[in-house]
Symmetry: C2
Subunit: 187 residues, 2 copies
DNA sequence: TAGGAATAGTCATATCACTGACTATGCAGC
DNA sequence: GCTGCATAGTCAGTGATATGACTATTCCTA
């Protein structure tokens, strides 16, 4: 009961093919869920069997045909039921945190390297989020959009993703600098 | 290859029984990993078979006997190897985010309720982290401890957990207030 | 003196998430 | 004419994670 609802929520934005969804789950939606294409195709097939989404074939001349999916009323009801059931809190679950937990019993060098690398990718993600936020709110400034815009859901989750990556970046930088200072390295 | 290293990292702090570990993974360590007891017992058995940890029986009079585990040299080597392999970035993966993504197509009331509830539990977690941080650094102030303390790993991961929950709380409160303002509710 | 919580641990099963390998078409560039 | 890339999707398998139901013992409380 997890990827399932993420897919339904993603399909609220319009018709998508499995392939397009896979792209979205690889970049934009990855602010709250990640999945590889195979998972999505499998999940889409299941959702269609259960009548929560409906697919329609689109014939294309210049490229392979595709199937576009939309959420049905039953799918919307499923989402509503999901929203009404209490959700369990989630923790961070990051390999890097495990490494840092153990760092003072290990050679810190590879951990530092990974922290610095992650800081860079986190910064890049922040920029991606910023661009996505700008695109979502269009002409409006944030405050107005949040007060009056119609489809603020993705914007709000984007905001969370941005904050998360920003925090991630700051933490990685701080920890990397600290470990470097404690165990001075040639590189 | 995930819980595995989290368990090894946790055992660096000293000898633990499966039961004690389960407690830790339910509260303190849950800042970077969560697991139910059954998973831990299974993982401990596997780690012992592979010689990465060593267990010793402790006979107790007033309560059931237990087995305490420590990390072996092989286990430390395994951790070092883990720290040296690139870690994949993780996303947030939270049901609440999925709900918020879909919120403008659903009844916002249950989502708002959950956001407010989560804000409270996040605040509680922040306090737990604060107490844990204080305990870990003892007499020292944070800066001194981070510069000179010996076993800063858990402190650093705690800091990340604290930041995460703080962000979580702020986001939940902000979004709940916003949704309330947009769709005024009696309750 | 029965019941519940805390300690300590096990077994079996289900579901999730992910990996890797694979098919097929068309377009652009060398 | 070949290679690589983007589009579009499938299959088979595995390891990781979670659920539910159990067994024991002791201490504390009502």
């Amino acid at each position: 009961m997890a990827l399932r609802h993420a897919v339904l929520a993603a399909l609220l934005d319009g018709e998508y093919s499995g392939y397009q969804l896979a792209k979205a789950f690889d970049v934009s939606l990855s602010n709250f869920w990640y999945a590889v294409p195979q998972q999505l195709y499998a999940e889409l097939a299941k959702l269609e069997r259960e009548g929560l989404i409906a697919g329609r074939q689109v014939i294309q001349r210049d490229r392979p045909n595709k199937r576009l999916f939309t959420v049905t009323d039953a799918g919307l009801a499923e989402l509503a039921a999901f929203a009404a059931t209490p959700s369990k809190p989630s923790s961070i679950r990051e390999d890097l945190l495990v490494m840092v937990q153990a760092v003072d019993r290990l050679d810190p060098a590879p951990v530092i390297a990974q922290l610095e690398e992650r800081a860079v990718t986190a910064a890049a993600k922040v920029e991606i989020f910023d661009r996505m936020l700008q695109r979502l709110r269009g002409e409006l400034d944030e405050e107005t959009f949040l007060r009056e815009g119609d489809r603020i859901g993705p914007y709000l989750t984007c905001l969370r993703g941005r904050r998360f990556e920003q925090e991630n970046r700051e933490w990685c930088e701080q920890v990397a600098a600290l470990l470097r200072a404690r165990a001075p390295l040639p590189s």
